[in-house]
């Protein structure tokens, strides 16, 4: 078997630049729940010990399993809570973080959001509807813990030589409003009173860019994360996508790209009908992370030599499949999606809490050895 000739950072940069590295870079997209399960810890106890404890759990996983190439700081329940999401922390019965969807915002709130912006809306109004936080001081304390913990987590990974894909995830403005209003209510708003929604989306997009740039500068990163679980063609027709998602997305990507920052899109549900839109973005301005429902091989055909694709080992395969099945799928995406580079080996939508140890090892081992053994 040949030896590795690149560092983790060189390897990931190579893939993002659509070139072929010595072997595929690996990014398992670890969740705190999976980190706990794979290191025989109890997430339902650790999650109440604060951000650092959960970050340490992910670092423990990294060290115990021999490390990998690309990482992100821990995505704890508090990370999502400070963003204005109603969250149920992991329990023994349900070890994954749960987003609770509801009508946490009212129609009248669009006007407030358009006026003061999403972040101030969260701290002035929404956080008190979706959490037990009592006042601004308590919110600021939690927010500070998340930011400081994130920076510490990044520093720890940097010591280990890993490439940091992003500091913290940001929900796309469309997804943010859908989660906060509930999917059907939000869709009714788009149907019956779209102008007010658009005013809010416009303001939130400006803020999204401003906040993202600030975060990248603070963390000294050239990558940012955009999460979207709802806007794809499996849920909305293209006329909705064309009006309410794509223009704001173009604005976001172009703003980051002009500052040398790549946007990484976490795209859940099937995006087969939307893939060709991403060809309109500047080459190497974005990466897409698929969740196993989009046809990744068709995505490669469309976006070949245009943007990097993070593959998509399905949670069901990681949890219920056999190691040889995981290894076979890894080899398939390495051969077919990574044949000319532009591929990062990853899990679809994050590593599930129920992932089997032997399957996780199969993913890491195949990624580290397959191409070097050829």
């Amino acid at each position: 078997m040949q030896k590795e000739t690149m560092t983790s950072i060189e390897r990931v940069e190579c893939a993002l630049n659509l070139e072929k590295p010595d072997r595929v870079p690996i990014w398992p997209d670890v969740t705190t729940s999976a980190a706990a399960a794979l290191t025989d810890e109890k997430i339902w106890e650790i999650t109440h010990q604060g951000f650092d404890a959960e970050q340490d759990l992910e670092l423990k996983l990294f060290d115990e399993y021999g490390g990998w190439d690309a990482v992100n700081p821990a995505l704890t329940a508090d990370v999502f809570a400070v963003g204005g999401n109603k969250i149920i922390k992991a329990t023994e019965e349900s070890p994954e973080i749960q987003f609770v969807e509801g009508e946490w915002t009212k129609y009248e709130d669009y006007e407030i959001i358009a006026e003061i912006g999403w972040f101030q809306f969260v701290t002035d109004h929404l956080i008190y509807r979706v959490s037990d936080i009592k006042d601004k001081a308590e919110y600021d304390k939690l927010y500070g813990e998340v930011i400081n913990g994130t920076l510490r987590g990044m520093a720890e990974y940097q010591k280990r030589g890993a490439f940091i894909l992003y500091a913290q995830p940001n929900n796309h403005p469309f997804f943010t409003l859908s989660l906060a209003r509930s999917m059907v209510k939000f869709t009714e708003d788009l149907f019956y009173r779209p102008e007010m929604v658009e005013r809010a989306l416009k303001k939130m997009t400006e803020e999204f860019i401003e906040f993202g740039l600030m975060l990248c500068e603070m963390a000294n990163l050239k990558n940012t994360k955009v999460i979207e679980e709802r806007a794809g063609g499996a849920i909305y027709p293209l006329r909705v996508f064309d009006r309410f998602w794509w223009p704001y997305t173009q604005q976001i990507v172009e703003a980051f790209h002009s500052r040398g920052i790549m946007s990484s899109f976490h795209l859940d549900t099937c995006w087969d009908k939307n893939l060709h839109y991403f060809k309109e973005l500047p080459r190497k301005s974005a990466m897409i992370e698929l969740d196993g429902t989009t046809n990744i091989f068709a995505a490669k055909d469309i976006l070949r030599n245009h943007m990097c694709i993070a593959s998509d080992i399905h949670p069901a395969l990681m949890s219920l499949g056999k190691p040889e099945e995981v290894a076979a799928y890894c080899r398939k995406v390495i051969d077919e999606v990574g044949d000319d580079g532009g591929h990062i080996l990853s899990t679809a939508c994050g590593l599930p809490a129920a992932a089997k140890k032997e399957n996780f090892i199969a993913m890491l081992e195949t990624g580290k050895t397959y191409e070097l053994s050829k």
Binding site: S33, S94, M183, A354
Partner: protein
């Protein structure tokens, strides 16, 4: 163990229908377990239903698309070991595509020996949903064995006829029934369609 999967958008009346079906099956001497996976706060009063002799299991998944498949299969295994029900009724999230759930069940599990899908269509919201969320609405109807057009008391008869025709065009094999689930006798209309 059979699985009855109830799909449909949040607010379409899935929970009301689920409870009626559960009681109907219990009255027919079947043992029932309920698995809840709605994205919003749980609509079923688990404590109440437990008192009624129905076992309720909450199935959470961090996101709508993928972790559900894993969680569902392990939940079904757990439910079978704990309760040995004749039928499990799963209330899926409003964003769920039943076809995706069925694919994963058929690939990875062996506990369920029969699956029926009921898709609940909200007659009142149908025009809006058809215009704005046609891909998801279509996927839910196409995967159904039974399409229940609910809340027909809130729309004109012509609207009900139109929905029946359009859903039949999407899924020619499905049994299509129009009801108002608030009317408890409606369960009799769909009981025959249940295996």
């Amino acid at each position: 163990m059979k699985l009855l999967l109830i799909a449909g958008f949040l607010g379409s009346g899935k929970t009301t229908l689920l409870i009626q079906i559960a009681h109907h099956l219990v009255s027919a001497s079947q043992s029932i377990a309920i698995v809840e996976n709605e994205m919003g706060e749980i609509g079923v009063d688990g404590d109440y239903l437990n008192l009624e002799g129905l076992q309720v299991q909450e199935l959470f998944g961090g996101c709508i698309c993928c972790t559900l498949s894993t969680g569902l299969i392990s939940t079904l295994e757990k439910v079978e070991e704990l309760y040995h029900p004749d039928t499990v009724i799963l209330e899926a999230t409003g964003a769920a595509r039943p076809g995706d759930i069925l694919n994963n069940l058929n690939t990875y599990q062996s506990r369920v020996d029969g699956i029926q899908v009921i898709t609940v269509v909200d007659a009142n919201r149908y025009p809006m949903l058809k215009e704005m969320m046609e891909p998801l609405l279509t996927a839910q109807v196409e995967a159904a064995d039974i399409v229940v057009i609910n809340k027909i008391d809130q729309v004109e008869p012509e609207q009900v006829d139109l929905i029946k025709k359009e859903t039949a065009d999407l899924n020619k094999e499905a049994v299509i029934e129009a009801i108002s689930a608030e009317n408890k006798s409606s369960i009799n209309i769909i009981a025959d369609a249940l295996q």
